[in-house]
Amino acid sequence: MRVTTVETRKATRTISGAQAVVRVLEEAGVEWIFGHPGGASLPLYDALYDAPRIRHVLCRHEQVAAHAATGYARASGRFGVCTATSGPGATNLVTGLADAMMDSAAVLAITGQVVRANIGTDAFQEADVTSITTPITKHNALVMDPHALVRTLREAIYLCQSGRPGPVLVDVPRDVFQTQIPEELLDEPFEPRRRPVTKGHPARIAEAAEAISQSRRPILYVGGGAQGASEPLARLARRCRIPVTVTLMGKGAFDETDPLCLGMLGMHGTAYANYAINAADLVIAVGARFDDRVTGRLKDFCPHARFIHIDIDPSEIGKNKPAHVPIVGDAREVLEALEPLVQPPDVEAWWKQIEEWRTRYPLRWKPGPLLKPQEAIEAIYRVTRGEAVVVTDVGQHQMWAAQYYKCRRPRTFISSGGLGAMGFGFPAAMGVQFARPDALVVAIVGDGGFQMTMQDLITAVEWKLPLKIYVINNGSLGMVRQWQELFYNQRYSAVQLRNPDFARIAEAFGAVGIRVERSEDLEPALQRSLEVTDRPVVVDLIVDPEENCYPMIPSGQSVKEMILGE
């Protein structure tokens, strides 16, 4: 390690490391920090006391802080900040960081660490956090040299947002926070070590344009990497009438109410999206990574297709499926260069086929005596006029939300995709509401996942967040139950939930609680929830516990094995 010695610097004015951290965050425009203090981060909190421009949201669990920072980042397109103390504080961030890594969210995590002299001695509240988080962060750093603190933090802020975004963790020993460093370190310009390639290779782009122009059955397969590319994407799709299918992460990048959009594909995607992509002769993947929940059995995925793969992360290209036309670059820049070069292909026959599938295999559910979860999502869609920013937890309700809540604008559907972290939805929705204070933010959660992080209802009450939390309550861990029903001979093992009364819990926290058991009470309750503007509302929607999520392509299988359901 390169060490800068303290003595060689002629410091005129000094500030503490913690003050320097606050200054760097202020310069970067940080308004909100989600966190929980502790011994090792005391100096940072002391410096925050003097920083009126940065407001700290005290979360009751660090996992909540990490998910809130993620929600903030994903809804705003900026970066989110979370902080925790050493040891248990930092380890509680782990799930949130892993989620941010899988879903490429720009999150900066600052953790306190025990004093340098104690590192490695099993000191009180010590954990080797940089080692623990190495595989689940884009980058991390333990700051042993106080003079490197400013540079390290600036690099972290740059890295978490640049190229393919991701979480970056900076671990700061308490005595580094406390060390006086020259104020002039803040004047040193920051130069990143490397910059990602954002401009696609012109020859590849020309090749891609040619391939699209020649295709007869093209399809755009749109992932989370396209959230910043919706305009050129829409131009390309509309001018050339190319059908679009979105991943869970890609929802909102293309207007789902546009007839060109086939909705989500994959395990619980629409049948017609899955039929279409598997019959395509050309798949144009934009910021998508051929995840197993999208592809099923890889060798049977899109057997007739050539692939154009546009991604800013070169390691994604060819990882799961070979790309015939690989284009490394920013989705927006690449599509802007590509779109004008494409001659609209002849897609008449292709659309005829797709419309046939769409008519024959629509998304559907059957009404019954009990409230149906799909019915609830459709009602949420109706009463919010499709204008809400929807945040989900993980499980059946997540898939129903993805299927039935059509998103029109980028960054309006926020879900834990890659990691599938239960407990994500409600905290992330808090972060979304901080990022977009005037937006209608709806958290659609399950009764299982909500219980993982609902202690932070008090945080939402404290900040008067007008969140709508809709609990799709089927009294069980529904997705696990569904798999046990379908693949484990209905041997229901550890999936029944004995639930608290969520409405009364909400009231106890100072939120509004509403319980709905019958279809006829659904819309009035949702309407009532929209009228509350000064605190969160929890609407406990008691739904049919037997309802399964279809269509479904069982894990590791192909579109041929798709279960359409009743």
Partner: protein, 173 residues
């Protein structure tokens, strides 16, 4: 173009990778973790500073299908402190490894061992009444051959450095 991921049926082979990284703590962990994650065993690993004190070179040999190595190499490239990665398996290269070999060498067989050592240009660097320690440099195959040769005398201990590699000619990694 193959349409399939590398599967266990795909033949594993020895791949030699040369990685230039910033000379800072923690980089090795990051690089190695990416191989561990895919269950790839690292056969040898040599790390040291280069002509530029800010840069270290990691030379590693792994046993896995070529396509899998390529996939991991791309992920290694994402590591912030990694400057360059190259799979040099198929490139013209010079490759050397050094081994220290401690062999049983009682008086009766000592000269025989030293004779064999000469053929392999192995140098004795320590001698006791019972053992001789030899230093041998060369390709990994040459070192394997030497170890096979002296095995019957009883090899007490071996320390190998793992391969280090440079490209032939004026090319650089």
């Amino acid at each position: 173009m193959s349409n399939a991921l590398p599967t266990p049926q795909v033949r594993s082979e020895r791949r030699v990778l040369s990685v230039l990284v910033d000379n800072v703590p923690g980089v090795l962990l990051r690089v190695v973790a990416l191989f561990r994650r895919r269950g790839i065993n690292i056969h040898s690993l040599a790390v040291s500073v280069t002509e530029d004190p800010a840069v270290s070179r990691i030379t590693m040999t792994v046993e896995c299908p070529a396509a899998l190595a390529e996939s991991v190499v791309k992920q290694v490239r994402r590591v912030v402190e990694v400057r360059r990665v190259r799979d040099v398996t198929d490139a013209p290269r010079t490759e050397r490894e050094l081994a220290l070999v401690k062999v049983n060498a009682p008086a009766g067989v000592r000269s025989e061992i030293l004779e064999a050592a000469q053929v392999f240009r192995a140098r004795p660097i320590d001698l006791t009444e019972k053992t001789v320690t030899l230093e041998v440099t060369g390709s990994p195959e040459k070192i394997d051959a030497f170890l096979n040769l002296v095995a019957r005398h009883g090899v007490r201990e071996v320390a190998r450095t793992g391969s280090v590699v440079l490209l032939r000619g004026s090319a650089t990694t």
